[in-house]
Amino acid sequence: MTLKGKSATIRTLELATCVVMLAALYAIFIYAPIEKTMGLVQKIFYIHVPSAFLAFFAFFITFVGSILYLYKRENKWDIMAFCSAEIGVIFCSIVLITGPIWAKPIWNVWWTWDPRLTTTLILWFIYAAYLILRGAAGENRRSNFSAVFGIIGFVNVPITFLAVRLWRTIHPVIITPKGINISDPMKLTLILTLMAFCLLFFTLLVSRIRLEKMRLDGEEIRALSEDEKTERNN
């Protein structure tokens, strides 16, 4: 695909994200009813849940990308895994910030060492470490090292997701085997917000992958020009 073609893809994604995001904001603030017990603060749920879902999804892409890189040895999988991990950390940070903002008026504490909260914090540390260590690793070992880390790190994702079922927890359980435990307008708003966040995620992922490829191209061109200079000097 050409650079122009990629820009068109990103522009289409950006436009779709803006439109659906505006519809989602309308649904959150105007359409969705105010919850009787919690009041307005319950609406934090509409950004907290999609962010958590996308953090898990991003780490899943990192997991798949890492496996494919180790199997096929193609750089594109390594780039995809790395970019997805970076965006996953962004969404996981949003989860860890919006959660305590909701908890303070509802639980009367900013933070408690609840299994769901603790495993989410560990998840954030794992992928923050992935990004830091990838930056620190040598050029020749970086991709292999990241791929192994990306596979092992994913073990914590199902643990975090199932924490509310495996241990006693005070974290609300919305998604149960019987369905989503909220009223229909709330469900619709959640689905719309989830769609908006998914579009945002793919826009960010495509842009980040493009940037990473551009960085690698830049490094290649720089190496070529250095070689040419050396040849001329000889």
């Binding site: 919690m38 009041g39 307005l40 603060v41 609406k43 934090i44 950004i47 907290h48 962010s51 962004i90 940070s93 949003i94 910030i97 919006t98 903002i101 909701w102 303070k104 008026p105 945002l200 960010l204 842009s207 980040r208 493009r210 940037l211 551009m214 960085r215 191209d217 830049g218 061109i221 720089r222 070529l224 020009s225 040419e228 001329r232």
Partner: protein
């Protein structure tokens, strides 16, 4: 309505994080684009000089 500031704080923080991430991507992209263009120009200039010398 008493807990409205918490709602706006949560939305505010979310949008600030996303905004700065998008800003950082676009800044890095612009820097890289200008660096690549500079190197390309330099390479083309070198090629032209080489042809003239031959």
């Amino acid at each position: 309505m008493g807990n409205a500031p918490y709602l706006f704080a949560a939305f505010g923080v979310t949008w600030v994080i996303i905004f700065f991430y998008i800003l950082s991507i676009s800044r890095r992209q612009k820097t890289l684009e200008s660096q690549i263009n500079k190197i390309r120009d330099a390479l083309e200039r070198n090629k032209e000089t080489g042809k003239r010398d031959e």
